[in-house]
Amino acid sequence: MRYGPLVFLAAFFALAVSWFGMVYTPQIQLGGAVQETNSVISSDLYPSERPGLARQGLEVYRENGCFYCHSQQVSQKGTLVDLFLTDAGKTNMAVANALNEEHVGTGTFSGPGIAAGLPKAIARNLSMERAQSLAAILKNNGAKSEMHLVPIGADIERGWGVRRTVAEDFIADATVMPGSQRVGPDLANIGARSPDLNWQLVHLYNPKLVTADSPMPPYPFLFEEKKIGSHPSPDALRPVGKFAPRAGYEIVPKPEARALANYLVSLRADTPLYEAPLTPPPPPKAATNAPAATNAPAAK
């Protein structure tokens, strides 16, 4: 061992450098993140602590290795701007002419027409520079405009989220589950996509009840097959066809299944943040997207 001290020093140095780069620096950078710093739109803290059952569900998620196949991170390629005219000002003609000179949109604007139906989008999918210059032109002509931010990217097109995931999204969790592979869909916003607890339970019991060719394994051990007593359990699943339980029995979710479903429903990262700005879509006017009233899966 002539080089013993040298080998030791080299190993120590290599480990120290990686500790600095991968533990200490991120801790300095992000360790101080707190909930309240980041509310742009409302005074509500983001992210809120998960309710108790959902916290237990995180452990079930971990135990069952859901993170091997599911990521919880949405990527984003860019941010485009939709420019909305909110006030056409007093000289509509000047505004319309200025917009026509800039060749905004596909058609041409007319003086009287431009003030109709405000606020309205006059140009979509602009770069920030272009949107800013157009907004300045509108302002010079006495009109007012509003920019709506539209994050874009493959994940967002798939409907997996409305913006990219950032570190702030994870600070309420003691164990973060960002995942690394995408055998299944990304779950960063599964609570926004499928807010129905019963849907989640049915899907966990056997994903093929929901999607016929789902590659996800079933998790029947999170459920109990119970003999129906004097009254059927109120929260029993009612799988149909070949997934149906034996006659006189019912499928009841165990506490683990309920916790996991609550955790999944609590997963959503769609609040606008300073570091991930977006313009939230307007709230729906009528309650047309009410969750299904039945807990039975749709018959195929």
């Binding site: 742009v40 990527s75 984003q76 941010t79 920030m128 990219r164 991930a276 700005p277 939230p280």
Partner: protein, 207 residues
């Protein structure tokens, strides 16, 4: 005495050894150019380890440009400022402390259509006797300290919050940073210290 090994083998190429073992100068130049390009690329796209800069944004300045999603809400900003600063004396419910700190709930000065008096109080503070609100005397044993170190935006936000807060039963119109700036400029030289209740009473709220 020559060793036979030194003799060149017949038929072998003669120049198998490097004539010049140093690195060619063009390679050094190329490596430096690559390093320079890397540094420039990092500078343009790295975000300089700013914790709030993620792709697709490349710098904190660019990220600031994108803060347009409806814009910050002055009322909600004001709520945050109030809950960090003002609540210590005026209380989370705006009721103040009897005989000591005047309530903001339903106060005349708070609810005036023109915010001149309130802006002055927040900017320079209030101290002295002779204050009566809702028939209750306040001797302001704890003087209100000046908050002129706050920006115009912050003062406008917190006044907007107090004046428009339905929980405080106040329904006065919002205040703009420009109004705060106008009064700040006006009293900057003429009245550097705290106001007394009588002085505030004498102020024209629209001025």
């Amino acid at each position: 005495m020559n060793s036979p090994a030194k003799q060149p083998v017949a038929g072998a190429p003669r120049d198998t050894e490097l004539k010049d073992p140093t690195v060619p100068i063009w390679l050094i130049v190329v490596l430096f150019l690559l390093l320079f390009w890397g540094a420039v690329y990092f500078d343009d796209h790295g975000g300089w380890f700013e914790k709030q800069v993620y792709t697709p944004y490349v710098s904190a300045d660019q990220l600031k440009d994108f803060q347009v999603g409806g814009g910050p809400n002055p009322f909600e900003q004001g709520r945050v400022i109030y809950s960090k600063t003002c609540f210590a004396c005026h209380g989370a419910n705006g009721m103040g402390q009897p005989g000591n700190v005047p309530p903001l709930v339903g106060s005349d000065w708070v609810n005036e259509p023109q915010p001149g008096r309130m802006i002055r109080i927040v900017l320079n503070g209030l101290q002295g006797t002779g204050l009566t609100i809702h028939g209750q005397p306040f001797n302001t044993g704890t003087a209100m300290v000046p908050w002129k170190s706050f920006s115009d935006e912050d003062i406008a936000a917190v006044i907007t919050f107090v004046r428009g807060n339905p929980d405080f039963k106040n329904h006065a119109p919002p205040v703009t940073p420009e109004q705060v700036k106008a009064i700040r400029d006006k009293i900057e030289g003429t009245h550097p210290g705290s106001f007394s209740p009588a002085e505030i009473e004498a102020v024209n709220p629209a001025d």
